[in-house]
């Protein structure tokens, strides 16, 4: 295999002083972040804070203008084990494929050019589909699945890919609470497999209750750590600026959502 072997001694993710420009605008400024295998980190911050940019940079789709990104000790383009789950609104749901087809896409890089899926690949796909609980719906068109099922399908694709690092961009947006908790339950499967998971999330309550760590982002890392240390008034003011009153009012009963994410996907 021509892709990088995982260096067991290295962190799942180590970013040092990473800056990214989108055109002429700085989207991320000297971001330093380390995540261990099995750790589950929520990335929170206002719209336009660079959450998607951060995930895409880690995925190796965007390239930093300075700083370094190492995934298991190697630069992202050396890996095929980074699973990137798109925002649901960024997907063409009328595309003529079934859930099984999409999960099989996770195998494409391991198959290599000019190879067809083997029995082993089909087994891995079937297992992944079963893990995410879509066995009965596997041969449905993707457009016929509900939002939660669609998100679980992408998680299945990441399983089939045998991902070592999961990047999820706003996976909870537009889902009801049942679907949300189904996805959170699946994340424990990734923890069991030692997969590091980064989730861009705008629900501060969920982020503080269900994740190991919170990274508060607004172009730079404003705070990084346990939720109690991160979600302080000072930090939230720094991250959300003028919106902080709404956030703070909402934080009192700890039923928070930043209500800023109804404008469609961030770029």
């Amino acid at each position: 295999m021509r892709f990088a072997a995982h260096d067991g001694a290295s962190a799942a993710l180590a970013m040092r002083g990473v800056s990214v420009f989108l055109g002429d605008t700085p989207a991320l400024e000297s971001v330093t972040l380390a995540v261990d295998g099995g750790e589950q980190v929520a990335i929170v911050g206002p719209n336009g804070a660079g959450k998607s940019t951060l995930l895409r940079t880690i995925a190796g789709v965007l390239h930093p203008s300075s700083g370094s990104v190492l995934v298991y000790g190697h630069r992202p383009p050396g890996h095929i084990c980074i699973a990137y789950l798109p925002q649901r609104s960024a997907v063409d749901w009328s595309f003529p494929v079934t859930a099984r087809d999409v999960v099989m896409m996770g195998r494409v890089a391991r198959l290599g050019l000019l190879r067809r899926p083997t029995r082993h690949d089909r087994d891995v796909v079937a297992e992944s589909i079963e893990t995410v609980g879509l066995t009965d719906l596997a041969d449905r068109r993707i457009g016929e699945l509900s939002g939660g099922q669609q998100q679980r399908m992408f998680i299945g694709r990441a399983l089939a890919q045998e991902a070592g690092l999961m990047l999820m961009d706003e996976p909870m947006t537009g889902l009801d609470s049942t679907s949300q908790s189904a996805i959170l339950d699946l994340l424990t499967e990734f923890r069991r497999r030692g997969v590091a998971t980064l989730v861009a999330n705008h629900d501060l309550t969920m982020s503080s209750e269900r994740f190991d760590r919170i990274v508060l982002l607004n172009r730079r890392v404003i705070a990084d750590g346990l939720s109690g240390d991160v979600l302080t008034e000072v930090n939230l003011l720094a991250a959300y600026g003028g919106h902080v009153h709404r956030i703070r009012d909402a934080l009192e009963p700890l039923a928070v959502s930043d209500s800023c994410c109804d404008h469609g996907p961030e770029i």
Partner: protein, 290 residues
């Protein structure tokens, strides 16, 4: 009585093909319809219809130059057209990566310009109108066996490449970001797709011409997309519909003395309208939330 009807029908079906040029025309129409339908499936899925049309028009200066150089042989024209088309498709690939101007604007400017250049070149020739009409609208009834063999070779190569890179192309079309995290050769695949479209347009040049090539590429595939939700079925159906439109168009042109290229496109369009009407009634929901 029934025998007479059957016999009359059989004669009506078979009669056109007592002429060898009609047989060659039929083979050309079926080839073009099928291969356009296959490649067109990806054109429709990736929203590249405008680009396909632009590419077709960009071929004109290449063909015109060949005329000017005194190439009267159809075979020579074919290779000139192919060269221009491949060059143009690589040009499009380069333009679409520029950030200074919107992609569709750039394509519109470059290809309207190339089309004008082609017309300007052809207009300096004596047989201007006849030659221009052939390039613009094709002339399927003048296809030679040699030309058919070239068409089959090119179509064969296109189908082989499509089959070889099928799974990568599907991933790239569905989720480009995921394709790049899988480290698939996205840029190579994108250019390959453009070159395949260019080759298919050149193959269809003699049949439907520059002006209508995009219809054979897009219409049967769009019809198929309304009728099935599975990619492989959609491709097969698009190829079948394309070939059937070609054959039906040829009959129409024989009995109503229409331009064959236009007749084929009209049949394809009629199929699309029927499918559109049917699918509106039993609409498949595209997304549900929750």
């Amino acid at each position: 009585m029934l025998d007479l009807v059957t016999e009359g029908f059989a004669r009506a079906v078979l009669e056109p093909f007592s002429y060898p040029f009609m047989v060659r025309g039929l083979l050309a129409a079926v080839t073009v319809g099928a291969v356009c339908g296959m490649v067109g499936t990806f054109v429709v899925l990736r929203g590249m219809a405008f680009l396909g049309d632009a590419l077709a028009h960009a071929i004109l200066p290449g063909v015109a130059t060949a005329y000017l150089c005194g190439a009267t042989q159809r075979g020579t024209l074919f290779w000139w057209a192919l060269l221009t088309a491949v060059g143009a498709s690589l040009g499009v690939g380069a333009i679409s990566r520029s950030e200074r101007i919107r992609e569709d604007t750039a394509i519109g400017i470059v290809f309207a310009g190339m089309f004008a250049l082609g017309i300007a070149l052809i207009s300096t020739m004596k047989s201007y109108t006849v030659d221009l009409a052939h390039v613009l609208f094709g002339n399927v009834l003048q296809v030679s066996w040699a030309h058919l063999r070239t068409m089959w070779t090119c179509s064969g190569v296109v189908v082989l490449l499509m089959v070889s890179f099928y799974k990568e192309m599907v991933v790239l079309s569905f989720d480009p970001v995921f394709a790049s995290t899988l480290r698939l050769p996205s840029r190579f695949l994108h250019y390959l797709m453009l070159v395949l479209i260019a080759v298919v347009i050149v193959v269809s040049l003699q049949t439907v011409g520059v002006a209508l090539a995009v219809a054979m590429l897009v219409t049967p595939a769009a019809t198929a997309s309304l009728l099935t939700g599975r990619l492989r079925r959609m491709m097969a159906l698009a190829a079948g519909l394309g070939a059937a439109s070609g054959v039906a168009g040829l009959y129409l042109s024989y009995y109503l003395s229409m331009a064959p290229g236009a007749a084929m496109v009209l049949v394809a369009t009629a199929c699309f309208l029927v499918a559109f009407a049917i699918s509106r009634r039993r609409r498949i929901p595209t997304t549900r939330s929750g």
